[in-house]
């Protein structure tokens, strides 16, 4: 996994509550057996005026001029400002893959759905929870100022605004550690392989019906 330490980037809006993962990446694109290439289909049904198909050349498709991520001022954005319960619905990891592939490195919202939130950390994408009033303010400042850039410092757990003002955020210690160092958590878990085997032996004794039933 790629590491996340500090990132400075242009902010862009996704100004609606309860953005579900079907909206982030529609189901027809889930047929891919790869982890990459989902970027052009991020928010497909909002971004384009036609129905997208897998394997299409998206550069030839009609863009929805009313969708903010299509506005010239938000091109190259890498910090997404969002609303409550972002990423609800399906567990598809294709949602963070699509956000990442499109170039987003961080998402700021008042709350996230649990599975999506977790999936982000597995892909070097940082979801940041801030108070709703602060998110409202960030939206306002971003709308008011073209080229509104935010700096995200994971080590210090701070979002830095263009005027230098800082906003602290919380992040789980383990997730922070993995993200800062770009660690593969399978490798970390396997360091505890002996503990897993000990537990497993005990469980096999207590509940033998859980083992070797399906062959």
């Amino acid at each position: 996994m790629k590491a996340f330490t500090q990132h400075k980037g242009l902010a862009a809006p996704m100004d609606r509550a309860n953005v579900d993962t079907d909206l982030i990446i529609p189901k027809q694109f889930l047929k891919s057996i790869k982890r990459t290439g989902f970027g052009p289909n991020l928010f497909d049904e909002l971004r384009y005026l036609d129905e997208g198909q897998p394997g299409q050349d998206c550069s030839q498709r009609p863009l929805n001029p009313e969708f903010p991520l299509n506005f010239p001022r938000y091109q190259g954005a890498s910090v997404l400002l969002a609303r409550k319960n972002f990423g609800c619905g399906s567990s598809r990891e294709h949602a963070p893959w699509a956000l990442d592939d499109h170039g987003f490195r961080a998402i700021i919202a008042p709350s996230f759905a649990d599975i999506f939130f977790n999936n982000c950390f597995k892909n070097g994408l940082l979801p940041i929870v801030l108070d709703e009033a602060i998110v409202d303010q960030l939206f306002e400042e971003m709308h008011a100022q073209e080229g509104y850039e935010l700096t995200i410092d994971l080590e210090k757990q701070q979002v830095v605004k263009p005027n230098g003002e800082t906003i602290d955020f919380e992040v789980d210690a383990f997730r922070k550690h993995c993200l800062l160092n770009g660690l593969d958590d399978i490798g970390l878990t396997l360091e505890d392989a002996d503990d897993i085997r000990t537990y497993e032996a005990k469980r096999r004794e207590q509940a033998p019906w859980l083992f070797d039933a399906v062959k």
């Binding site: 509550a17 079907d22 047929k31 057996i33 567990s91 990891e93 597995k122 399978i186 019906w209």
Partner: protein, 479 residues
């Protein structure tokens, strides 16, 4: 010290190790696999030169991409017309072969929607931890298991280590007391719960569903309720083990037998919250107050009773919510104040991991018997959740009731719940659907989904618009 909740017990039973940073390693007993969220995980194992930690914990089946139409289905994997879908199902075949994973293949007797075949085969059991790269894994909590959806990275993690890195969730009790009226089902109960607490109401919680209504509910009904825990924001939903659970599990192919059964029953009898257990949140509903539900918007919380009207955004004080209601009405092509019973349907879908079990098909057939679908309804799909459900329904003659009513009897698959196979809505079409999500485009580009129970869906198919299945049933003299 307060007693333990069911979730506390399941957590404690599976705790391999607590780490200093507040995370824990939780052991996974059963890992279900389907074609959509597994290819990248198998590829990850291959690239790292890893093998599954415990092959016998894995059970795979293709469900999302497989065709429901009989002639296309007859060709097996090679017969899937959509090339990208075919490759994905072929990839599951290859991965299961390469890694020696048990798979119920596309036309084998064990095949079906993962969340239907788990309980019906006994592959998922009380007291287990169950995961799958699918958010509706919460379904298996109905057995008194800790079950939740995971992303593809975690699919790979569980395959490689048999564990998940987790932080303990908070405890929520949703208690539904009293009794349900005739014609009111598990689907109406869970839609009413989501309507009450919202799609983020359960975020960060494991929900236990309890109370008299849950205690009296069948296993199929409990699965419907737990299935949609995720639509209330909770990764895991669960119901305590009782005699109904044991009667359901007994004699399932992979359930313990003989002395193991007795030992298992003794262990499972502990799988309930202690009387003095404390919950972080308690939500209460009365069964008598729940009416058949119909969703009108683009989020499962946008739901009302069938006797109600489409809400008015002007009545919404919160600006973000008001904008959400306005956008939903525009997308759905509905106007504020419109009666739910005036909404006309273009298609009807009865199926999905929420409502494709035998009890669901019986409920739909009870309404459809001797009736005909309305001419204005283009298509009514009946998609059984598994080969076993299909066989049972055919044994009971339900398939013929549906066919006589002008409905289409299809092959087991996820089908129009998420439209990854050929079954989808056209733009602007309204669908009465027994599935779980009414998100924009979920059932097809521009499609408009209304979530309902199987009986409500069948009644709507016959009337051509929503009707209160309770009145409909009276007219039909259905007991």
């Amino acid at each position: 010290m307060a007693g333990q909740t069911l979730y506390d017990k399941l957590w404690q039973d599976h705790l391999v190790k607590s780490r200093e940073d507040g995370t824990a390693l939780i052991y996974i007993d059963r890992h279900l696999i389907h074609e959509v969220t597994s290819p990248q995980a198998f590829e990850g194992l291959r690239l790292a030169g890893r093998k599954p930690w415990r092959k016998d914990s894995l059970v795979a089946t293709p469900d999302h991409n497989v065709p429901s139409e009989a002639s296309e289905r007859a060709g097996g994997v090679a017969g899937i017309r959509d090339e990208v879908s075919r490759i994905q199902v072929q990839t599951l075949d290859e991965n299961c072969r390469d890694f020696d994973v048990v798979q119920f293949g596309i036309n084998e007797p064990g095949q079906g929607i993962v969340h239907v075949i788990g309980p019906e085969t006994g592959a998922t059991l009380p007291g287990m931890t169950v995961v799958c790269g699918d958010s509706h894994t919460s379904t298996h909590g109905a057995l008194g298991a800790l079950a939740h959806g995971i992303g593809t990275s975690e699919v790979e993690h569980v395959m490689a280590t048999q564990c998940l890195i987790q932080k303990k969730m908070k405890n929520m009790l949703v208690r539904v007391d009293g009794v349900l009226g005739r014609g009111v089902t598990a689907k109406d109960v869970v839609l009413a719960i989501i309507g009450k607490i919202g799609t983020a109401g359960g975020t960060g919680y494991a929900i236990e569903f309890g109370g008299e209504v849950m205690r009296n509910m069948s296993m199929e009904g409990r699965m419907t309720v737990c299935n949609m825990a995720i639509e209330a924001g909770a990764r895991a939903g669960m119901v305590a083990v009782d005699q109904i659970t044991l009667d359901y599990v007994k004699d399932k192919p992979y359930a313990p037998k003989g002395a193991d059964w007795d030992r298992a029953v003794a262990a499972w009898s502990q799988l309930h919250s202690d009387d003095d257990a404390e919950f972080d949140a308690v939500i209460e509903l009365r069964g008598e107050e729940i009416e058949p539900q119909v969703s009108w918007g683009t989020s499962p919380e946008m739901v009302v009773a069938v006797s109600a009207q489409v809400p008015d955004p002007a009545a919404e004080a919160d600006a973000t919510k008001r904008a959400g209601v306005e956008r939903a009405l525009e997308y759905m092509g509905l106007t504020a104040g419109q009666k739910i019973t005036d909404i006309k349907l273009d298609r009807v879908f009865i199926g999905s991991c929420t409502n494709s079990r035998i009890e669901d098909l019986r409920a739909a057939a009870a309404v459809a018997k001797g009736q005909k679908k309305a001419d204005s309804v283009k298509q009514v799909l009946i998609v059984p959740g598994s080969q076993a459900v299909k066989a049972q329904a055919e044994k009971e003659g339900l398939d013929q009731i549906f066919i006589d009513a002008g409905f289409e009897w299809r092959e087991p698959s996820c089908s129009m719940c998420l439209a990854m196979n050929a079954d989808k809505l056209g733009a602007g079409e309204h669908c009465a659907s027994t599935s779980n999500r009414n998100f924009e485009g979920r059932q097809g580009y521009g499609g408009r989904t209304h979530l309902v129970s199987p009986g409500m869906a069948a009644a709507a198919a016959i009337a051509g618009h929503f009707v209160d299945v309770r009145e409909f049933a009276t007219q039909l003299e259905i007991a």
